[in-house]
Amino acid sequence: MISSFLEQYMSTTLQCLKLLDAYLLYILLTRALQLSYCLLLRTFPFNSLLSGFMSCVGSFILAVCLRIEINPQNKGDFQGISPERAFTDFLFASAILHLVVMKLVS
């Protein structure tokens, strides 16, 4: 099942979407690293830990939203949202997210 899924995935997805998927994978790896730190070592600066988690999860979600919005198969769902607009939204949302994350880290 997994091999057939991978084969279909490699052949049918666009280049830009594959790039986004690589970014998503990177975020997942960072998250796994943070989780292992939390479990193995300590959770003492709790708000820093939380802000790190939120930053990971937030970026992941925003990237997934971007991927959904620029996928040409989904054009029917989103009238009036061009890929440029989707990307601008992504930048705006990431800016707000990271502003708040920086506030929470300290």
């Binding site: 769902d77 939204d89 997210l97």
Partner: protein
């Protein structure tokens, strides 16, 4: 040019249909599909640029609604003066004053040592700063523009101004749900409805004044983001949610209603990618924004009230991922089975979480709190709502709102699911507590507006000029005009009722009392302010005042003195200690007062003017709260007569007649004769002649009594320098005096010597 206007009206996203028809959903799609032709045609002869007229009309109506809402809240300011009302607003005003004079960081890190002596209160971490920051910001901006406004005036008029903004956001929300006509009606309703006015009148400087605006605006942005699926609308919704979290503890309502909406959409098979984008972004960014408020802290990931949102977040991630997989894989049956099984399991887990948090912990904790903690039970706003309150606060809207709900459910789509859930949950909460009528009011206004709009569209629209006249409609024009007239009369009665209720019931400052003589002239009773200003000007700056917790904020705000307990009621044992002092006899109370360093005691006594909110009427609550902490010393049954009555006259129980509260209230009252018909010492509030008229104090002395004896202040005397003896001194001289005197006087002649006269004169 008309064609250009028509195209502009259509291209602007959610812009409504042209002026000719106050159309419902179906007719809108028909006119849009047909192009700009059939739509504006019926009124082509009368109006050019109908879209322009429409926006002018909307703007004028919204402006008038704002003006009406603002003016309707000014009764108290016109009758009395621009003053902060009630109790809680005085604390908010004091905090805002601190913010305006010392700056934002000082406010955020403020530790108040003049409240809850000797414990103090961490204000920065136990308050919702949105209200103070909003008022402070407006004050700062106006002063930057050299419009010098005092901070008190900004605080007094903040709520009426925000009521106008609430009208506008209700208009936007209802327009998203139904159409522009319903939106305008909803804006007008919420501008004057008494349920909202009760908490946002001028002078009532409290969180709800700005919180309802934040609530409606957040809901509008949420509906918009579910409709469009765009991330920028969702981020705006998160920022508005952040403002709501900073403003009111009722933000928990939002963070539970939105996940519930998403969950019900999933159950109704209305899942779409827009919902996924909207909710995921909202949850994450909203979560991290809500943790910026110090008072909220890490609660969103710890307490059970926020767990539903997390559960739905996990559920929707799983659902979306499975949807994605299903598109990829070809094994149809296995896949759908797998999909169903996992979603059912996730749903079961989520439901159990909901069950545990709502019915298990939270609801049970709430019930426990209501019954077993007398402080919460004693607040009058926490009592269940009666039918009279529903009608009083909402008038005909409460009758028409089920009709609006039915219309919404009949023509269901994603956002109408949301408003139906909002209505159902708000009705439940409003039935539990009177105070939560406020959360019901916006949704009632919206749904009634939808009902009225539907009726008017049906009976006012001109059937002959539509391209498809409705089939079942065969009523003559007479019946239509009769129905329209009846509806208009209902609306006019609604407006009259709202104004009457606002004027009579919700516009009393409660710090200044007014009574009217039989010839109509007004008698102002300004005793509270008189007493607080006496305290401010005649006592030491660091004096400590003990009173019941109701008056703590007012004493701190107006008299600027340190208080022991106030309306925050965060420390039950401290309040119980004060209650014990008030209910014990003078000696025991004096010990407690010495241990707490009390300098002055303040009580409210209404026996002279018949004021029924005084401390003797609240006395049983003091006893109950004290008994909760000190059951061995205070027993509630001691204060009743053997027959079980609470009486202040001669037949009252001796414990009551000797307790500190009784003595302080009725000191010197026995000499006062109010009326020729009643004996001296007749208490007008309890309608009884008092039992103990000859009251003497050992450790207190009367410091101040206001003009109508409403407020009485007593000074606590220090310990005496020298204790008086209560026995006669011992006699230690054993020799007889007579022998000495005759010997000395005889030898020296007339001159008395020092020794002799000294000895005889000493005793």
């Amino acid at each position: 040019s008309r064609r250009g206007e028509g195209q502009d009206a259509r291209a602007a996203g959610s812009c409504p249909a042209p002026l000719g028809t106050w159309a419902g959903e179906a007719t809108v799609s028909r006119t849009h599909a047909g192009g700009p032709g059939p739509g504006p045609a019926p009124l082509a002869g009368g109006l050019s640029q109908p879209a322009g007229w429409q926006s002018l009309l909307s703007f004028t109506i919204l402006f008038l609604a704002w003006l009406a809402g603002f003016s309707s809240r000014l009764f108290a300011v016109i009758r009395f003066e621009s003053i902060i009302h009630e109790f809680d607003p005085w604390f908010n005003y004091r905090s805002t004053h601190h913010l305006a004079s010392h700056g934002f960081y000082e406010f955020l890190n403020w530790f108040d040592e003049r409240a809850w002596y000797p414990l103090g209160r961490i204000v920065g971490g136990t308050v919702y700063p949105g209200l103070m920051v909003t008022a402070g910001l407006i004050h700062w901006i106006l002063n930057m523009l050299n419009i010098t406004v005092h901070i008190r005036d900004v605080c007094v008029f903040l709520a009426p101004i925000f009521s106008g903004l609430t009208s506008i956001s209700t208009f936007l929300l209802t327009r998203e749900l139904w159409n522009q006509g319903a939106g305008l009606l909803a804006a007008c309703f919420i501008a004057i409805v008494p349920g909202y006015i009760s908490r946002s009148v001028a002078g009532s400087f409290d969180n709800e004044g700005i919180a309802i605006f934040a609530l409606q605006f957040t809901y509008y942005l949420w509906v918009k983001s579910v409709k469009t699926g765009s991330v920028s609308w969702t981020i705006c919704c998160c920022l508005s949610y952040f403002y709501m979290v900073s403003a009111w503890g009722g933000y928990v309502f939002i963070i539970n209603l939105i996940p519930l909406h998403v969950f019900v959409l999933l159950l109704m098979q209305r899942y779409s990618k827009r919902v996924y984008i909207a909710y995921s972004t909202f949850y994450i960014v909203g979560l991290i924004l809500s943790m910026q408020i110090p008072f909220v802290g890490f609660q969103p990931i710890r307490t059970s009230e926020h767990m539903a949102a997390a559960g739905v977040f996990a559920l929707i991630q799983a659902y979306a991922f499975l949807q994605y997989l299903r598109d990829r894989l070809t094994k149809q049956e296995f896949q759908t089975l797998f999909f169903l099984g996992v979603s059912l399991a996730a749903g079961a887990v989520f439901l159990s979480v909901i069950y545990l948090t709502y019915t298990g912990e939270w609801h049970q904790g709430w019930k426990y709190a209501k019954i077993h903690i007398p402080i919460i039970a004693s607040v009058s706003e926490h009592q269940p709502t009666t039918w009279v309150s529903f009608f009083f606060d909402l008038h005909i809207l409460v009758c028409t709102f089920p009709a609006g709900l039915w219309f919404c459910i009949k023509n269901i789509n994603d956002e109408r699911v949301f408003v139906a859930l909002y209505a159902i949950s708000a009705v439940y909460f409003a039935g539990v507590m009177v105070r939560l009528m406020l959360t019901l009011t916006p949704v009632v206004c919206m749904l009634s507006a939808i009902a009225f709009s539907n009726v008017f569209e049906h009976y006012l629209g001109d059937d002959l000029k539509r391209e498809n006249p409705p089939v079942e409609d065969s009523l003559g024009p007479n019946i239509k005009s009769i129905v329209t007239m009846l509806m208009l009369m209902l609306l006019m009665m609604f407006a009259v009722h709202c104004t009457w209720v606002t004027s009579n019931a919700y516009s009393s400052p409660s710090i200044v009392l007014a009574s009217y003589n039989h010839d109509g002239t007004r008698n102002i009773l300004d005793d509270f302010r008189e007493a607080y200003y006496w305290l401010r000007q005649n006592t030491d700056e660091h004096a400590r005042v003990m009173s019941w917790w109701d008056y703590g904020y007012q004493i701190a705000g107006m008299a600027n003195r340190t208080t022991l307990v106030d309306n925050n009621t965060w420390n039950n044992s401290h309040i119980a200690l004060v209650g014990k002092a008030m209910s014990s006899n003078e000696t025991a109370a004096y010990k407690i007062m010495r241990s707490l360093d009390v300098d002055y005691v303040l009580i409210i006594f209404g026996g002279v003017i018949g004021y029924s909110g005084d401390d003797i009427n609240k006395f049983l609550w003091m006893v109950r709260i004290a008994e909760g902490e000190h059951p061995k010393d205070i027993r509630e049954s001691d204060y009743f007569t053997p027959q079980g009555e609470f009486r202040v006259d001669k037949a009252g129980s001796p414990t009551l007649l000797n307790c500190l509260m009784y003595k302080m209230s009725y000191y010197r009252f026995g000499e006062m004769q109010l009326d020729f018909r009643t004996p001296p010492g007749f208490d007008r509030t309890r309608n009884a002649e008092i039992g103990n008229k000859d009251i003497k104090f050992k450790h207190l002395e009367e410091a101040f009594t206001s003009e109508h004896w409403l407020v009485r202040i007593y000074k606590v005397k220090q310990l005496q320098n020298r204790e008086t003896l209560d026995h006669k001194p011992r006699v230690t001289n054993i020799l007889s005096k007579q022998k000495y005197l005759s010997k000395k006087v005889g030898s020296q002649g007339n001159y008395p010597t020092k020794v002799g006269s000294g000895l005889s004169g000493r005793w």
